[in-house]
Structure formats: structure tokens, C-alpha cells
Symmetry: C2
Subunit: 362 residues, 2 copies
Amino acid sequence: MRWLTENDIEHIAVGAAVLGTGGGGDPFIGKMMALGAIDKHGPVKVINIDELKDDDFVLPVSGMGAPSVLVEKIPSFDQLVNPLKAYEEAIGKKVTVIMPIEVGGVNSLIPVAVAAMTGLPILDGDAMGRAFPEAQMVSFHLDGLKPELVTMADEQGNHVTIRPVNGLWSEKLSRQVTVAMGGSTIVSDYGVDGKQAKKSVIPNTLTLAQKIGELLEKRTEAVHPIEKMLQLLKGRLLFKGKAQLIKRGIQGGFTRGEAHFTGMDDDEHSECILYFQNEHLIAKRDGRPIALTPDLIAVLDEETGMPITTEGLRYGARVIIVAFPAHEKWRTPIGIETAGPRYFKYDVDYVPLEQLHEEELS
Amino acid sequence: MRWLTENDIEHIAVGAAVLGTGGGGDPFIGKMMALGAIDKHGPVKVINIDELKDDDFVLPVSGMGAPSVLVEKIPSFDQLVNPLKAYEEAIGKKVTVIMPIEVGGVNSLIPVAVAAMTGLPILDGDAMGRAFPEAQMVSFHLDGLKPELVTMADEQGNHVTIRPVNGLWSEKLSRQVTVAMGGSTIVSDYGVDGKQAKKSVIPNTLTLAQKIGELLEKRTEAVHPIEKMLQLLKGRLLFKGKAQLIKRGIQGGFTRGEAHFTGMDDDEHSECILYFQNEHLIAKRDGRPIALTPDLIAVLDEETGMPITTEGLRYGARVIIVAFPAHEKWRTPIGIETAGPRYFKYDVDYVPLEQLHEEELS
């Protein structure tokens, strides 16, 4: 157990932008919300999964929709807390612990704001181990759980409760409600007891985001922060280059597109293309896959190592593209079926990051 | 109190196609559902509003979405009854009377099917006195009531409960959920006690639909059925002509468009245009309005007097276009604001049907 400091939250916001560069939204909005809520309602206690009691009731809270919309209409107190209240009412049980559904982007810190507002502790863990663009891409789904109940609220005061037949319908219905509600909502789904949470939650991910933030901010001359990050996350440097053509389009409630980079230094004469649906999903170098979802692909500023979000990427940016292995839960057949390249309609089979680069090691 | 016979249902289906030629859907699907349910579960009792007890709980049940989709996926027993069950659970009260939200199109008979399935009586009355395309176009809204609760179900087993801030948000959110659910859903909204129903319901409209059906089917040589219908509904014959250009497009979940007619007989050398959003909303003759929503416009087969739905209208059809005055509730300022021409973005003020044709009488 520990209390989150203002510094911790600053670092989580930075680290969260590495773990979720798109769909999760701009984590700095999350930082504003979390700091504002703590300032008004008091500090937030973080607990880890070992501290959960079997009969705890753990509820994820997250934002759904387009990050660009969230900036325009910052959620109100009522909107942030209403899905939780509706959830409690529907199941006739009190929530005892809040958790992030994804530690990546704005959704790392929205639940911290809700924890402050309700006085509940926040769990150090999430259901993705990163950010993914769709609602059913969670460890609960991999463990065979259905989202029995989804509660949603907008800033107008509208509430919607969905009882979907499965995770895919949950995604489809909640996505459309989000569109109808103006493009961004607050959502609670996959409420579980402490016993189930201990099984399904990917642990220590808030702390992981915080560590990434710390090493990016607390710079030393000796080792470049990107080097330290690769060590921490067992990742690989994929490509060093300059952003060229960036194609983006809104399709089915997502930002889809691709970003092209021409190589620099060791990568001169090579080209890298990233394909994204909110999050970067596929990286190819000269036509050959070099990283594939569910492994995580991130774009970092060459100079500072700071993450560049999908929305923030601009022509001419000098970047380092890195990749990190997904949590082992994502590398199972159900994990690959749920968030692998073919789910996103890319015509390529998943190969783990390490295996893609085996020849480089040998 | 009376029991609905198979013949009554046949007649209601025909009359309902006069009172709702578009958004309400093909009433013959409703007939199939009602007859099927009665065959399986037993007969349906009709009560009128004087028979309501103050503490009755009256719940409308209706279909939402595109009629063409409904034909493809006839609702199952579960889908028809689930919104009612979800409503009862959410408010902790038992429904005692079913009512149609609109007597027009398929929604006249879907609630009859639900009444058969649940063994509850159906109210002889509705909340429109005709069909209208949007969810908030109901007498409850005119009386200042909010749809506190909207329950929806699809044929997959998905359930959605909406607590909207007002009628317009109810329409917006439930329409999007309907789109996400594949284009057609079963909905319950505006549940009220018997006391409120007595105030707000437009009475005797199931019987009215039945009477229209009877006079169209039980033909005598003496008086043309259209003539009898105009007497019954205090309507006017607007135009006799042949269908020419028909423009239709799907826009925001509705079928919008216009239908052009060239005149025959007394109307030779004239042109009539109908503008529709699911329902016919405006009729113009040579550019001059001759009938305006919320007054009802219907297109009838010249020969038989049988109604032609918006979807069923074809090039070359020889038709008689008629109009009937809306119920007085719709001719109030709030009624005109809710369902008058300007709500539908037509640049013309509402003028009652009788007034538009005053000069013809004088």
C-alpha cells in the first residue's frame, strides 16, 4: 500500500503515453483530472493485487471514444462517478476497489480521479498491460469472462446500461452509444470480485508506467533514457527515422491509417511503415514485419525519448521506433485471436517480437 | 372490454397502414406476429381508458428501426417480452396493461402480440393517434413527461437500458442503439400509471384502425370506401394522380425523400409533391402547401382505396392522396413544436388542414 504523490502522477502520465499512444487518449488530460480530483477530495491509496480480499468488489472505470473530443468536453464529477453508481445499483453491491481497465493513455489516470472522488483505493494493475483500442481486448475476456454489465454516462446526464451477450457485442453497442453521446463517454465494465481480480489482472502496471515516466524525466548523461526503457521492458529498438507521409482517417469510430518513415544513421536507405487503429499495430521495415500486435509499438522523440502519440505525430519528426513484448496472456491462442494482426484484418500471422529478430541475435 | 378476433386483427392491420405508411413498418408483419402469438398463447382482451384503474401500470411496447430489416429478422418471443421484463425489474413494479405507442404500421400489432404472450390486456388507445417517425413524438411528451426509462432488446439477446435526460436524447440514443443492434429493436418507454394514462393517451385508436380496415374490406357498391374513410376521419381528398419520380435515401437512420405525382381527371395539369421522413410530412400542389404535419397524409390505391406504404410506392401507381386532421393535442404550440414542419427542417409554418382549404369551401 502506498499513497500516490503529485510526482507519481506526473510520471504515470508520461509512462502511460509509452504504453498507449492512441486510443487511450492524451494522458495529460488524465493527469489534470487526477490532480484536480486529489486536490479537491484528498489523496489516493494504491494497493497491489496481493492486498485484495476475495470478497472485495473491483470495478474498472475508463473513458471511451475519441481523445480529441475529450479535450473539448472534460468530464464532470457526476459523469466520472455515475457509471460506478449505476453499476452498484444494478448489482446491489458496493464497489470497494477501483482499477484501470488499461494502463495506457488517459485511462491510466481517469480511474485515479474516480478513486479520489469516492475515497476508494486504486489497484496497481490493469486488464491490458498496455492500451488496446477495443473494449473486449481485456484479460477478463481471455479468461472466459463476459462483461455482464456495462454502465455509461455522458456530460449531459444521460445514462445507459448494457447487458451484452458477449465482449464483441459490448464493444459494438458501447461504441455506438459513445458516438451518439457526442464521441466520448465514461464507462464501467467487467466488475469482478477480489478472487477473480487476483487471477485476471495484469499486476503492477501503474508502477510500471510510473517507472517509465521516472527514467524519462530523471535523465542522466551516462545512459540514454531510451536505452534504459528498453532494458526495463525487455524491448528492442526497431528503427530510427524521419516521419514522412501520414495517412489518417476516421473509420467505425476509430482513427485508422499508416505512418511512413525514412531511415537515418544505421537505417539509412530503409523505410519503415506503421499501421494503426488508434494504437500502432504493425511495423514493417522494407515490407517485412518487424513488430506485430499484441506486442507494443511506440514512437519516441529521438532527442528526449518522450513518447509521441498517434495524433501528435507530424511530418518531419525525428523519431526512434521501439517495441516491447506483450504480457504472456496476450501471446496465447485466445490472446492472439483477440488482439492479433488478423483480428484487425491485417493479412499476416503473429510472430513474437523476439522471434522476428532471432537472426539479428544469431 | 372485448376480446380481439382474428378478423379484428386483419382489419386493424389494414387501418394501421392508413394511419402510418412509413416508419411504423409494414403492418402485415405485425398481423403475423399478433396472430401467431394468439394462436400459441391465447386471446387478447382490449380495454378502453375508462376501464383503467389509477394504480394500473401501463407500458407501451413497440418496434424501432427500419421496417425492411424487421421482415428479415422477425422478433423472437424473448425479444418481444424482454424490454417489458427489464422495465419491471428496473422499477420494481409489475406491468398490468400493455399499450401501443403508436397506432400506425407494425406498432399497432406488436403490442397485441406481447399482450397475448403475457396474458395482459391491451389498451384501446395510443400516444400518437397515428404514426410519427421519432420516439419523443408522443402525447406523454406533450404533457411534459420525460421518458425516465427506455428498455431495448435485440434478437441476439442483448439488452440496453437508457435513462435519458429528455425525449430528444431518448430518441438519439435509442436510434443509435437500434443501428448498432442491426437496424431493428423492440423498445419499451414512457411507462405510466393508470391515472396518467387516462390524461395522456389518445383514446380508441385501435378501434379506429379497425373501423378503417372494415370499411376498406367490406366494400359496397353504393359509396366508394375512400369516401367513407374521409367521412369517418373528417378528412379531405387532396389529389388524384400518377406516381412519377420517387427519391429515397437513408439519412440518420430514417428514409427521407420526396414523391412526385402528375394529376389526373380534375387534377390534370397539376403536380403534387409529398415530402417524407418515413411518414409523409408535407404535401404541396403546384408549389403551394395543401397538407402539413402533424396532420396525417396518406396515399391510397385509386381503385381499391387500400393504403400504399412509403416503401411500397412505385412509379406509375395511380393513387388518391388524402389528409386527415391530427388529434387536437398535436395542434397546440407544443404539438406543433414537436412534430410540425419546422421540427423536420421544412421552411413553412403549420396551418391546419381545414384552414389551408378554406377558400375552396367558401
